[in-house]
Amino acid sequence: MKSDKLQNPLLFDLVDERADYQNKVALKRITFKIRQGEKIALMDPSGAGKTTLLRLLYERSQLPLNGYQNVLNEVAYVDQHYALVSQLSVLHNVYMGRLDRNSTFFNLRNLIRPQKTVLTEIELILTDLNMEQQINQTTGTLSGGQKQRTAIARAMYKGGNLLLADEPISSIDVQQAGAILDLLCQNAETIVMSLHNVDFAMKYAQRIIGLRQGEILFDQPTSHVTLTMLDTLYNP
C-alpha cells in the first residue's frame, strides 16, 4: 500500500512554508507532500490555519509554472462562505465553474437563456445533491445548507482531478452530509478538505493532518490516528 502510494505523481511538495492571513501569521513550518489519489482531511480546531492552507494550495495550483501542470489540469475549490453570486440563480452559479471552457458569446447567451446541454448536465448534478427543485431560484434566497450544496455542485460541475474543500458540510445536516461526502469522493481523484466532524474525517479520509496554532501537530494515515492524538488537538 505504501509503496503503491509513493509511485503516484506528486501534486504538492511544501517545505517549511509560512503564510499570513489578515496580516497575522496563520501558518508556519508547514512541510508535507500530497500525491495524486490521496484523500486528506485537515483538522484545525483553533482557527484560520486550514483556510489559509487550502487557499495556499489553490494559489499554487493556479500558477502557470507550478511544475505539476501535467498532473493537475483542473482544480475545484469549495469556499467556506460558499462564494456565490446572490443575484444569480442556482443554475448560473453552478455554470460559473466552467466559464473558462466556453466562448464569451456562449456564456452571455447562457446567462440570458440557459442552453439545453448545460441545463441537462447541471440538472443531473443538482438531482444528486437533492437541489433540483431550486435550480431557478436566486441563491440569495436559499438556506445555508442549500447555498453550500450549490457551492458543491459548482465544484462538481467544474470537475478536474483535485478538489479543495473548506468545511464543505458545515451547514448540511448529518444525514445528508455522509451522502454528499460519498459523492465528492467518487467525483474527485484527489481531495483535500477541512472537516470539523471527527467521525467523517475518520471515515472518508485516508490521511489526517491536524493543525494547531498554524503548525502541523500530526500528519498520519487515518488508521494511525489515535484518540490521544485527537484529544491533544482538541483539548491541549
Binding site: D79, H92, M96, L99, D100, N107, L108
Partner: protein
C-alpha cells in the same frame, strides 16, 4: 470691514459718470405691463406650440442620457486608471449649459449640440456611479470563477473585472 465696504461704494459712485451705461429698452413699463397682462389673460392657443418644444426636450434628454450611459459604462472599465478618473472629473464638473455654449460655436444651434452637451457630462457621472457599484459589490464570488476565464465573462457573471 465697514470702512473697506464704504471705500468700495465711494469708488463705485465716483466711477459712475464715466461708465458706458445705456438702457436700450425704450418702453420698459409697457413690457412689464404686457407680462402682467399675460399672467391674467393667458393666450391658450400658444399652448399648442409648446407640444413640439416639450417633445424636443424629452427627445434630447433621452438621446443625451442614452449616449451618456453607453460612454459611461465604457469609461467605468478604466476607472481604476488615474488619467481616466481625472478625465471623468473634468467632463462632469462642467455643467451641461456650458458644454452647450462650447458646442454652439463648433457645430452651431442644432440637435448635435444639444445631445452632446447632455451626453458628455452624464458620461462622466455614469462612469463614476458604475465604477462605484462594481467596487462595492461582493468580491467573494470571484473565488468560484476559473482562472482562465475571459474578462467579459468574468464581469457578466461575477460582477468584477
Amino acid at each position: 470691514m465697514l470702512r473697506t465696504s464704504l471705500i468700495f461704494v465711494v469708488i463705485a459712485l465716483l466711477s459712475l459718470p464715466f461708465a458706458d451705461l445705456e438702457i436700450t429698452t425704450s418702453h420698459p413699463w409697457t413690457e412689464l405691463g404686457q407680462i402682467a397682462l399675460g399672467a391674467i389673460q393667458p393666450d391658450l392657443s400658444a399652448l399648442w406650440q409648446l407640444k413640439t418644444a416639450l417633445l424636443n426636450t424629452v427627445v434630447f434628454a433621452f438621446c443625451g442620457t442614452s449616449i451618456g450611459v453607453v460612454l459611461g459604462a465604457g469609461l467605468a472599465f478604466g476607472f481604476s486608471w488615474a488619467p481616466i478618473r481625472l478625465f471623468c472629473v473634468f467632463i462632469r464638473s462642467i455643467h451641461e449649459i456650458f458644454w452647450a455654449f462650447l458646442f454652439l460655436n463648433i457645430v452651431g444651434l442644432n440637435p448635435i449640440c444639444g445631445v452632446l452637451s447632455i451626453a458628455i457630462p452624464y458620461a462622466g457621472i455614469f462612469a463614476k456611479v458604475y465604477a462605484e457599484i462594481v467596487q462595492e459589490s461582493d468580491k467573494q464570488p470571484l473565488v468560484g470563477i476559473p482562472t482562465g476565464t475571459g474578462v467579459i465573462s468574468r464581469f457578466i457573471y461575477g460582477g468584477h473585472l
